[in-house]
């Protein structure tokens, strides 16, 4: 797998590994003053044990988005897509449907909308960026309309007290993550499609000369992305005690994009790796945990997190700046 990566992506992976270890040390350092050393170690252990459950939705969504970004496209609507998944879940739940039907509906709705974005961009011949920017608002509206129509007596949110509905997101998240991540890494190492997606993003003209069907490749990336985002949506929804489509997954897209870019994926497409994305998601999660332990003021967290994400994306763009300008002048 590593042999298929470009040198900057390999360097980024090494840097991220070091960064994640560093953040764990910082968290430990924040825990020590208020606790004994064994107590701090125990609390750090709790943070680590909770990590798979907490990062599973974001990690799965990030893998899906990585595939889409590789082709040179992007999906800005993933937060709203999650809200639609939640709305479909709420509709099923309120009508007494069994968990498998509720989660199946959520997966199909979320995955279908992402794949639909790709199809719409191809059909209308407009950038995926615009289609998904429109989706950011439209899907949120769709989610609200769906719960209004499909959930009897809906008053802003729906509480799901039954434990059975929380099992996938709470108890199985780690296993889901293991299988899905394993599948993605296997696909990246041995599959043909990920290479073609990278080729598409790197040079569409060269791909055209090679006889590749670019629209079909882009659609396949959106289908792959839709499947992973749908899975992420299922885990996200089942991890929530209440379904509130108006606020659900607000700003989710930015943290996922930041994780993907941080993982070494070029925002313009054509470069990156799933492994880097996984480490990028982990880095952002640990950074957030550090903020929780380091800042008592919850109002400061969004600003610091926003600054961190901007810093990361800005840093990445500076690294690619010369290359991008040279490409532009060619």
């Amino acid at each position: 797998m590593l042999s298929r990566m470009t040198a900057p992506v390999r360097r980024r992976i090494v840097w991220l590994l070091a960064g994640n270890v560093g953040l764990l040390l910082v968290i430990f350092a924040c825990l020590v003053p208020g606790d004994t050393v064994p107590g701090a170690v125990s609390r750090l252990g709790t943070v680590l044990v909770d990590t798979p459950r907490n990062i599973a939705p974001e990690m799965l969504a990030a893998i899906g988005l990585t595939a889409i970004i590789w082709t040179g496209a992007i999906d800005l609507s993933i937060g709203s897509v999650m809200a639609v998944g939640g709305a479909v879940f709420a509709m099923g739940y309120s009508h007494g449907a069994p968990p498998v039907v509720c989660f199946g509906g959520c997966l199909l709705a979320a995955g279908g909308l992402v794949a639909g974005n790709g199809l719409l961009a191809r059909w209308l011949e407009i950038p995926a960026l615009i289609v998904t920017l429109a989706g950011l608002a439209a899907y949120r509206g769709l989610a609200l309309v769906l719960v209004n129509v499909g959930v009897p007596g809906f008053d802003g949110n729906l509480t799901v007290p039954e434990e059975i509905f929380r099992v996938p997101g709470r108890d199985w998240a780690g296993w889901f993550l293991l299988v899905a991540v394993g599948g993605a890494l296997w696909c990246e190492s041995f599959g043909r499609l990920p290479r073609l997606w990278l080729a598409h993003g790197s040079s569409p003209a060269a791909c055209r000369l090679q006889g590749l069907d670019l629209p079909r490749l882009a659609i396949s990336a959106f289908l792959f992305g839709g499947f992973y985002l749908g899975l992420g949506g299922v885990l996200y929804v089942s991890n929530q005690q209440t379904i509130d489509p108006a606020r659900m997954a607000l700003g989710f897209e930015l943290s996922v994009i930041a994780a993907v870019v941080l993982g070494g994926t070029n925002i313009f497409g054509g470069e990156g790796s799933f492994l880097g994305t996984l480490l990028g998601v982990l880095f952002l999660y640990l950074a957030r945990q550090t903020l929780i332990y380091a800042f008592d003021d919850p109002h400061a967290r969004q600003a610091v997190e926003g600054a961190l994400i901007l810093g990361v994306i800005g840093f990445d763009c500076v690294l690619h700046r010369t290359e991008h300008r040279m490409e532009e002048l060619k």
Binding site: L133, I257, F268, A303, G314
Partner: protein
């Protein structure tokens, strides 16, 4: 052609919502009364969108986008609200608001021009960052010093809003139709490489454009606070999409290189009438629809954006080919 189409759409929209709202429009005087009431109510609330749509046109012309305008407006208003009402507000809070607006615009410009961050990603990031700063400034409070400032409330009325919008649109239009700056912005948006070869200082022009957006965010914040009188951490959430939809409907291409200020102003009117009409139609919708019509607004905005971009792309291709 586009302007005529927008005007026809505007008239159609007004006719549909007049009938749904139950207004008496059976006689010419009834129509005039309806329009007078409508616009007296609509224009002051619409002023921030109109002002920002002028700036967004410039940004889109350079093949950029600014998703942070709502957060910028909120942050500028939040900073201004830290000052006590009174005459001194004009000499302290208002100039400081301008400085903050220009600073935020330049920050966006630096990300886009100096660091080469794609505009959509850069401003999506600053949208969250500025909103975070706004929360830091406001916390959970709502501040309302604006109505204590002598003469400030006038800016939020019909005449104040008309003067502000007229000045911004007039100055923008005059500058747009005569300056070399406009040609250079169109070139930057149309073909950045060609612009560099032609000696246009691309990075500087981009910085200037985003700085103008910051200034207009300050103007919009002034109009907004003069109208509403209070500000909190979630002020102007979702405003960016309305502004973008208005500009795109007005005929400005998101790929850059083509834009119309008058189109943007008409687009903003179209979006505002739609927004207001859906609010007025609540009584009708409660009787006839199984969902709240206000939720339908997001769907319509998304749909309008896609349709607007699609139309602009088709028209652009026809003109180019």
């Amino acid at each position: 052609m586009r302007v005529v189409a927008l005007l026809v759409l505007l008239v159609l929209e007004l006719a549909v919502f007049a009938s749904v709202s139950g207004a008496d429009v059976s006689t010419p005087s009834g129509v005039l009364d309806y329009l007078e009431l409508k616009f007296l109510d609509l224009i002051p609330g619409l002023a921030p969108v109109l002002v920002l749509s002028v700036g967004m046109t410039l940004v889109l012309v350079t093949a950029g986008i600014d998703l942070s305008v709502g957060s910028m407006l909120a942050l500028v208003a939040a900073v201004m609200s830290l000052f006590d009402g009174g005459t001194s507000f004009w000499f302290t809070a208002v100039p400081l608001g301008l400085v903050v607006g220009v600073g935020l615009g330049l920050f966006n410009g630096a990300l886009v021009a100096r660091l080469d961050v794609p505009p959509i990603v850069a401003t999506l990031g600053t949208m969250i960052f500025f909103r975070g700063l706004c929360q830091l400034v406001m916390r959970d409070a709502e501040r309302a010093p604006f109505f204590d400032v002598p003469g400030y409330e006038w800016l939020g009325g019909f005449s104040g809003a008309m003067v502000t919008v007229g000045l911004v649109a007039g100055a923008g239009g005059w500058f747009w139709s005569r300056s070399r700056w406009r040609r250079e912005l169109l070139l930057v948006g149309g073909n950045r490489v060609a612009a560099r070869y032609a000696g246009v200082p691309v990075d500087r022009r981009l910085m200037e454009t985003y700085a103008v957006m910051g200034v207009l965010a300050w103007v919009a914040a002034t109009c907004f606070t003069a109208r509403n009188g209070a500000v909190n951490a979630s002020t102007a959430t979702g405003l960016e999409l309305k502004v973008i939809v208005a500009v795109v409907l007005g005929g400005t291409r998101v790929e850059g290189g083509r834009g119309s200020l008058i189109g943007s102003v008409l687009g903003a009117l179209l979006v505002a009438v739609l927004d207001d009409g859906l609010r007025e139609a609540k009584g009708w919708s409660d009787e006839h629809l199984p969902f709240e019509i206000s939720h339908f607004r997001y769907l319509l905005l998304g749909l309008l954006l896609v349709v607007g971009v699609w139309l602009n792309t088709r028209i652009g291709r026809r003109d180019d080919g």
